[in-house]
């Protein structure tokens, strides 16, 4: 059997909820040995569900079962001297620590990068927090929501004018920060000899988004002219059609910018006469006349189902897609054919469906190797090994 790409890398995770656990999951699913250090009551994600039939059970939280595949779990009370001593022993010969506590909490425990690097100079410490280790807001209490809305992303890109700016409805900042942490953290481990030792990787979820997503497209303009845009509630305001419209059984993303695409859309719609009008012949002019155009397209979409619209448009070369519900995405033939939806046997939760690897490395496949661990499931083996290695 092929070994995982990251086999042999030893990771300690000190994570709660989403960001550090997701980052560590990527390592674990691709072969690293990840030991998740949980407080005696467990990662908060265990308490938050979703749960089967909404019956709370720390071993059946969907959030936890998704984010903690392929890991081992030990419990440790870091509020005690003995607990912190034990934690330092775990750190002595690991390659990486992935953590997402607020900086003030790590300081209170005496578990700063400086103190841990003193006992393991090769340590790559990956810290993922809303605002990072330095800068005035690093002192703040904050969660995913606060990080996302500090980036300009919501004000600029999501919501109707005059109404509240929106996040996506998931932990968008945590996932973004975790992904950046995974790439930068793995580079620091892979290139440790080149770099001359371990180091501290400081990820601010807010900064990663404010830089790459929002800054990438906007910051040069603001710096040069002081001008900036805000959300419009429409998918794209400069070109059209480019937005989400209702249809018979849900919603579709109508995107049609190039001329060939517009002709393909016309064909999909049965070549209505209005689409030949001069004002609708390029995407800018269509955008200027969007108020007249969208209702005409909507008349058509409301008569058809989303899958039919997508199929017809795609066949005519138009990048229109159905807005899948979560269930429609989960049950789609494409993801089934690719084996993306997997089943796992969990000792308490039973048979659970889960998401597979987000990318494929055919020579060293990844993806969940074992279900998320029970709380403290590996206390005996981890602490016994630790005790022996210290003798």
């Amino acid at each position: 059997m092929a070994i995982g790409a990251l086999e042999g890398i030893r990771v300690i995770e000190l994570g709660q909820m989403v960001s550090a656990p997701y980052c560590a999951k990527l390592f674990a699913d691709f072969g690293a040995d990840v030991v998740k250090v949980e407080p005696p009551r467990g990662d908060v994600a265990r308490q938050w569900g979703p749960f089967p039939d909404d019956q709370a059970d720390a071993e059946k939280s969907g959030l936890f079962l998704f984010l903690n595949t392929s890991k081992r779990s030990v419990t440790l009370d870091l509020d005690t001297d003995a607990g912190r001593d034990c934690f330092r022993k775990l750190i002595v010969d690991c390659d990486a620590l992935i953590e997402n506590y607020l900086p003030r909490q790590m300081r209170a425990w005496g578990l700063t990068y400086e103190s841990l690097a003193a006992i393991n100079p090769n340590l790559v410490m990956i810290s993922i927090t809303p605002f990072g280790q330095n800068g005035p807001y690093s002192q703040w209490n904050a969660y995913d929501l606060n990080a996302y809305h500090l980036t300009g992303a919501s004000s600029r890109y999501c919501g109707r004018p005059g109404e509240a700016p929106l996040e996506h409805g998931t932990f968008s900042a945590d996932f973004f920060g975790a992904s950046a942490a995974a790439s930068w953290g793995l580079a620091a481990i892979y290139g440790r000899d080149t770099a001359g030792g371990g180091q501290h990787i400081d990820v601010s979820c807010a900064e990663a988004i404010a830089a790459t997503f929002v800054g990438g497209q906007n910051i040069g303009a603001v710096a040069q002219s002081g001008k900036f845009d805000k959300r419009t509630g429409v998918g794209m305001s400069l070109g059209a059609p480019a937005t989400i419209l209702p249809c018979k059984d849900g919603h579709v993303w109508i995107l049609c910018l190039e001329t060939a695409q517009w002709n393909g859309l016309a064909k999909s719609m049965g070549d209505p006469e209005w689409m030949q009008l001069e004002i609708f012949q390029d995407m800018f002019s269509r955008a200027q006349n969007a108020d007249a155009m969208y209702p005409l397209i909507e008349q058509w979409t409301m008569e058809h189902g989303k899958m039919e619209i997508m199929e017809r448009c795609q066949a005519n070369g138009v990048p229109v897609s159905a807005v899948f519900t979560v269930g429609e995405a989960a049950e789609h033939d494409h993801l089934k054919a690719r084996g993306y939806i997997i089943e796992q046997q969990h000792p308490v939760a039973g048979t659970i469906r889960n998401l597979g690897a987000p990318f494929r490395l055919p020579a060293c496949p990844g993806g969940p190797r074992s279900p998320a661990p029970l709380l403290g499931q590996h206390n005996d083996e981890v602490y016994t090994t630790l005790g022996k290695s210290l003798q």
Binding site: A223, Q224, R231, H251, W253, L255, P319, V320, T325, R360
Partner: protein
């Protein structure tokens, strides 16, 4: 021991275009790799034509947004419609460790640079492909833009106001997200190559990577058959309240407030001066607050509206409540936090104008990434064709004249 960036010595040929692929190259470059983006004047990348331009003068080497998103990538110009250019591209790949591309499936084959062709010239090459929905399966040819790709994951169905339709995100969150995460499997594959001698072709489905963001809602579907709906800025699992964005004094000013624990609720009540409406005993526990989310949010909004966003943030943070201003794009450059972290950096472009881009969006303690301005088209032609591929000056000039190096 020398302090080098961790990927020093890794060389990358980046066929990526528009946004996601170039960000993968940029990430590898921030980490120390030498990255050559392959592009051509025969088909100038759309993003090079997007205004605004440096000093307001239009030109493919002056798009400010392009520069921020591509900085770190070098640039090599090759007109890949021509067979000789394809050969030169393969010659370059033979001297690279990694190939990055984000075309649809099959395009690299049409350019004479499919995995089999590249493996023939570099057996242990790590090739990274990131099509919308992966390299195989019924939807492999699906046409999407980054804007709409998320609709295939369920993510768009979660975004919007409570009880309302999905509201579109007006730019491609998935592009930088996948661009950055793409470096992870590439480095993993490099590690595998170093240990086994084996290269591989990575199949990175942007759909599947983004669908991990939907993981929490997917589990609710898998366990309970429920399809999550938009819930404004409410807690994604419906496990906490108040949790949202609330109006402040001024035009389009807002504050985000997230109360995740019962202690934080006590802190918030105290900060508000213990108003009568907040004293209801059922609000003391998360379950009671979640059940009364609408009422609590309405009361809270009436209170926050009296304050300026930054002043109220100070007040709430002082009380231990997780709160932060909701920034507009216009706030970013002068924000004290981003200033302190050096998130945005002004550089001088080789054409003489100043431009503001972002630097290393992750901070590293041992080795700091070098930040370069956006790449001028063909910036690295001499380095690649003369130094790395060893072409003599006459041959190089002839290829330029024939618009093969173009």
């Amino acid at each position: 021991m020398a302090k080098n960036l961790p990927l020093k010595g890794i060389r990358v040929a980046n066929f990526g275009w528009v946004w996601a692929g170039p960000v993968t190259g940029q990430t590898l470059a921030f980490l120390g790799a030498e990255v050559f983006k392959i592009e051509s004047r025969a088909r100038i990348d759309l993003t090079r034509t997007l205004p605004p331009f440096g000093d307001g003068i239009p030109g493919p080497d002056r798009s400010l947004s392009n520069h921020a998103c591509w900085a770190g990538n070098g640039s090599v110009t090759l007109n890949l419609k021509k067979a000789e250019a394809q050969q030169l591209a393969r010659d370059l790949v033979a001297r690279c460790d990694v190939v990055v591309e984000n075309f649809g499936p099959g395009v690299m084959e049409q350019l004479g640079c499919g995995y089999e062709s590249l493996r023939a010239v570099k057996p242990d090459i790590v090739m990274f492909s990131m099509p919308a929905a992966g390299l195989d399966g019924p939807l492999k040819g699906v046409r999407t833009y980054g804007l709409s790709l998320t609709s295939l994951t369920g993510l768009d169905s979660l975004t919007g106001y409570t009880d309302g339709p999905p509201v579109p995100v007006e730019n491609a969150y998935s592009d930088p997200y996948n661009g950055i995460l793409g470096a992870f499997p590439i480095i993993a594959a490099l590690r595998h190559r170093d240990r086994s001698g084996e290269g591989q072709h990575i199949d990175y489905s942007q759909q599947e990577a983004i669908m991990h963001m939907v993981g929490p809602a997917f589990m609710d579907y898998a366990m309970n058959g429920r399809n999550a709906q938009p819930k404004s800025n409410g807690h994604p699992l419906g496990a906490a309240a108040p949790h949202g964005v609330f109006p402040c004094a001024g035009d389009d000013r807002w504050i985000s407030i997230a109360v995740l624990t019962d202690d934080e609720w006590s802190h918030l009540k105290r900060a508000m001066g213990d108003p009568a409406w907040a004293a209801r005993p059922e609000y003391a526990k998360a379950g009671g607050r979640v059940a009364a989310t609408a009422e609590i949010h309405e009361q809270l909004a009436a209170w926050t509206a009296q304050y300026d966003d930054r002043g109220l943030t100070q007040l709430l943070q002082g009380a231990g409540v997780a709160a932060a201003p909701v920034l507009n794009v216009g706030d970013l450059l002068d924000d004290p936090h981003y200033k302190a972290r050096g998130t945005y950096i002004e550089v001088t472009h080789p054409l003489g104008f100043r431009e503001t881009i972002y630097g290393a969006y992750v901070k590293t303690s041992r080795t700091q990434a070098a930040v370069e301005p956006g790449p001028v088209m063909g910036r690295d032609n001499e380095r690649v064709f003369k130094e790395i591929l060893g072409l003599d000056a006459d041959r190089y000039d002839a290829l330029v004249a024939a618009e093969i190096i173009y």
